[in-house]
Symmetry: C2
Subunit: 295 residues, 2 copies
DNA sequence: TCCATTCTCTGACTTTAGTCAGAGACTTCT
DNA sequence: AGAAGTCTCTGACTAAAGTCAGAGAATGGA
């Protein structure tokens, strides 16, 4: 790693820590300890399971419990057992809690404004653009990719979201039953692998590969959630699947795609895929690609 | 302020807070409470007065005192009365203290590396570029500009640094005695104003304007420290001085500059200054400018 | 010289933030 | 049905972080 990059990151950490970190805690924590405020914020408008809260904030279970008790005493939240599993408890904001949360929300806005007001129009535009870039790239660094059973709830959630998106984007809609690999099962072990990307624990992308005897392996169901686009995640999932193919001794990989999916096509081309004649009769495919693997 | 900018700043605050803030404290605070570590860091290689430390970190005097006592017990710092004012005490790092500080330094590097390693080469370049931009603009937002007596030590420091820089940049050197406004005093009240820019309390830029009877006011001694360039500070100082001219009822302002000072010339042109025939006999001037003020 | 002010320190506190070891209610697996 | 495991909670702690009211030394100005 070159020293100049490291020095730049350090300068950034310092400036941002001073300018935002400090202000942030001061702003949020005026009426209420920071711990409680963070918790209140993290509960969200919909309510959340206690264990999720703990995970998200990385706190001890006893500690969270105590914080919740304190918020409950102040009438800001209610804690009730979940319908289906009465061990798990769900926290929900009361009307007062929502109000308090709205105050935090406002404070966040004020802080943001405070940062922007000292700049002129042009600087402001540049700052927000640069912040968006930093935000995107830092977020990209926290996405994890793991192999998962295609039947795992998170895999199923990804595939569902993918199919929904296809229905929306294809003029004729999308029916999984017409698609050549109707059962996602073949994408999992033993003849393949299915990977899921997570951001803060939430599944935000997936992809699978199937090893088919003498034929080159076949990549399918590549998807990235709208909220996680622009992070280079598609490329990363693709690389993961190709690496698996290489480990399995494959000399090339194949995939096909629909003409509507322009970003995907661009990704495949830029990742070294070449268009080839149709190698299957996938109903929704317009383009067939193959990439040689020299690993 | 538009909502989208605010939303972007908030997203940024959140991501950065999670990714850097949290890691930062964890990294620094492994052997030593965060408070002590921050203090140790802030003392710096040269030593620092206790009250400056307090100011910089925004802490209670009793608290700082206690932290220092703890660091002293561990043999990391020495605290001694200042030469000239024995009420003020100066903290200095011992050899052991410098060693401990070097460890913190290394941790900072490691944290920076950690952030970069999860990215590929291209993303890394983009990230550091964007960070530099954010850093610059956030810093720009904390620079304050105030009117100051030209004889104030900070004004004198700026002018000294300015003259040193001119000596370096002009092939023939620079001698203030040959310059048309030899006494900076005329730039202060009652016939003018002298402004100094500060970043974290340190003077980093200056400029003065002199109202000369029937002639248009005359801007002189505009300077920005190397460490503070790229923040749009020159433009800001200029605007400040022009605003003063407007308040004084002037219809235009004038200035002259040396051909070596290319950034300055570019700034003047882009700020609306037009080159005019020489209106004085400043020894070091090559270009004379005037800008109409319609305020 | 005296008085107001500045600066740092000490003692006596409080509040936050967090850890750890169970206990008890509930689910899931066999 | 019984055992093993999950999830949340309580009690009993500790360490860190910070506040507040003086006390005491030193300084600057009238």
């Amino acid at each position: 790693m070159d020293a100049e990059s490291i020095a730049q990151v350090r300068r950034f950490n310092r400036t941002v820590g001073e300018r935002i970190g400090v202000l942030h805690d001061h702003f949020l924590g005026t009426d209420r300890p920071v711990g409680e405020a963070r918790l209140l914020w993290e509960i969200g408008a919909e309510g959340r399971d206690v264990r999720r809260l703990r995970d998200r904030l990385g706190l001890d279970s006893g500690y969270v419990s105590r914080l919740l008790r304190s918020l409950e005493r102040d009438g800001l939240v209610t804690v009730e057992p979940q319908e289906h599993d009465r061990r798990v408890r769900t926290v929900r904001l009361t009307a007062a809690g929502r109000k308090e949360r709205a105050v935090l929300d406002e404070r966040s806005d004020e802080l943001a404004e405070l940062i922007l007001t000292s700049l002129n129009e042009r600087q402001r535009t540049r700052l927000t653009a640069a912040m968006a870039e930093v935000d995107r790239l830092l977020t990209a660094g926290t996405v994890s990719v793991e192999e998962l059973d295609p039947a795992h709830p998170d895999s199923v959630a990804c595939l569902g979201a993918y199919f929904d998106e296809l229905s929306e984007r294809f003029e004729e809609g999308f029916d999984a039953a017409l698609s050549a690999v109707p059962d996602a099962g073949v994408l999992g072990p033993p003849h393949g692998v299915f990977v899921v990307a997570r951001l803060h624990g939430e599944p935000v992308g997936c992809g699978g590969i199937h090893l088919g005897g003498d034929e080159p392996p076949y990549i399918k169901r590549m998807w990235v959630a709208k909220s996680a686009r622009g992070l280079g995640l598609g490329r990363r999932l693709l690389a993961e699947l190709e690496a698996y193919a290489v480990r399995s001794g494959a000399r090339s990989v194949r995939l096909e795609t629909n003409g509507e999916l322009r970003e995907a096509i661009a990704l495949y081309r830029s990742a070294g895929y070449e268009e080839v004649p149709a190698f299957n009769d996938e109903y929704y495919a317009h383009h067939w690609f193959e990439k040689p693997l020299d690993g």
